[in-house]
Subunit: 194 residues, 2 copies
DNA sequence: CATCTAATTAGAAATATATCGAATTTAATC
DNA sequence: GATTAAATTCGATATATTTCTAATTAGATG
């Protein structure tokens, strides 16, 4: 449970349009055009907000023919409510540690990635390496199957040494490989620094 | 621009600096300079954030000589956690009612308290009275024992008629008294408006 | 009332965000 | 493969936000 997540969650909920979308989806799934219509906004605007809602996993989607239906991830809301109510039960120090962790993480990412998202070099310290990789795999889609070439291409967006990084992805359980097909593991399986 | 206060709460929590301030204040009250020091930011920046935190009633303040101490309003966090967790159980109209309730509560507090935290007068309507008292007892520490004089002093910060309010605290089960010693009750025992 | 300390305001720079219209992509279907 | 409906990306613009320094205010105390 990172602080970042809490802050991102609130930042995301801190916009009236997005809260309106969430309340709409609380009643049931809807497709983009329907949302746009009900809110009197254009499709690109809805896409923009759905992207943010997806980033914090508040919504997920399911395709039916030509139409993508967006669903509210209700359990996340419950989970976040829990986090919030526990915010105070926690001792101050613990909380401050969480904050510090999150800041450190941010700093590492800023240090190792250029402003336009390239990885400057692969950290040798395990902890930093994991943070850097974890950041990178954000760009992969959950549930999607990639062949090796796709994975290479994906990694090359960040760094030329795709072979090493691809191997690291497997070693640290970010992904698994079967018959040359790669897929993202659930986050619980990822290697975590002690 | 007049935004929903619910959204304002989320927006306010959606900033890492402010969450850090909240986490510091969760440990106990602090004055501005101390916060600035701990966070490595300047005083004006802290003022800026405290202003926002105050706007959503997440913090309140109390002056001691030259120094203003900022306190966390813990019950608001719990309250918002509650709102969030119930967001999904409810639907449609019900949800809007909840939002309305939350807004009404804020409004009542704003109506009956001055900007610097004084109680203008004791509401006669039971519902409003309870909301106003509930807000006031936020300033008392859970588990701490107070003698009558301390309680009087505490209440006098808000209103001159400490005797009436002290009595109300007991009647409505915010506190209990034993041998002239007062202590906060667990929140479950507090009187709640129907 | 002069002086001190803490807090706030004012103003500016850098960054981020919400929204749109136009162009492009995606996936189903003919 | 061409067509179509939906979603997304791109680029632009207007508005907000965070943070700073410098100047000002508020309140306590000698």
């Amino acid at each position: 449970m990172q602080l970042n997540r809490l802050v991102e969650f609130y930042k995301t909920m801190g916009d009236p349009t997005r809260v309106r979308i969430v309340s709409l989806l609380a009643k049931g799934p809807l497709h983009g055009q329907a949302i746009a219509g009900k809110l009197g906004l254009t499709a690109p605007t809805i896409t923009h907000h759905l992207k943010k809602l997806r980033e914090v996993h508040l919504v997920y989607e399911r395709r039916d023919k030509n139409t993508i239906y967006f669903y509210l991830n209700s359990s996340l809301i419950k989970q976040q409510a829990e986090v919030l109510s526990q915010l105070l039960e926690k001792r101050g120090e613990e909380l401050e540690n969480m904050v510090e962790d999150s800041l450190e993480r941010q700093k590492i990412i800023e240090n190792f990635y250029t402003k336009d998202g390239k990885l400057k070099n692969i950290p040798s310290q395990r902890k930093k390496k994991l943070i850097v990789f974890e950041h990178m795999v954000q760009g992969l889609k959950k549930g999607k199957k990639y062949d090796e070439k796709e994975i290479n291409e994906f990694i090359k967006q960040f760094h030329e040494d795709y072979a090493t990084i691809r191997r690291e992805f497997i070693i640290n359980h970010y992904m698994y490989r079967e018959n040359g097909i790669y897929e993202l593991n659930p986050e619980e399986m990822w290697a975590k620094p002690e």
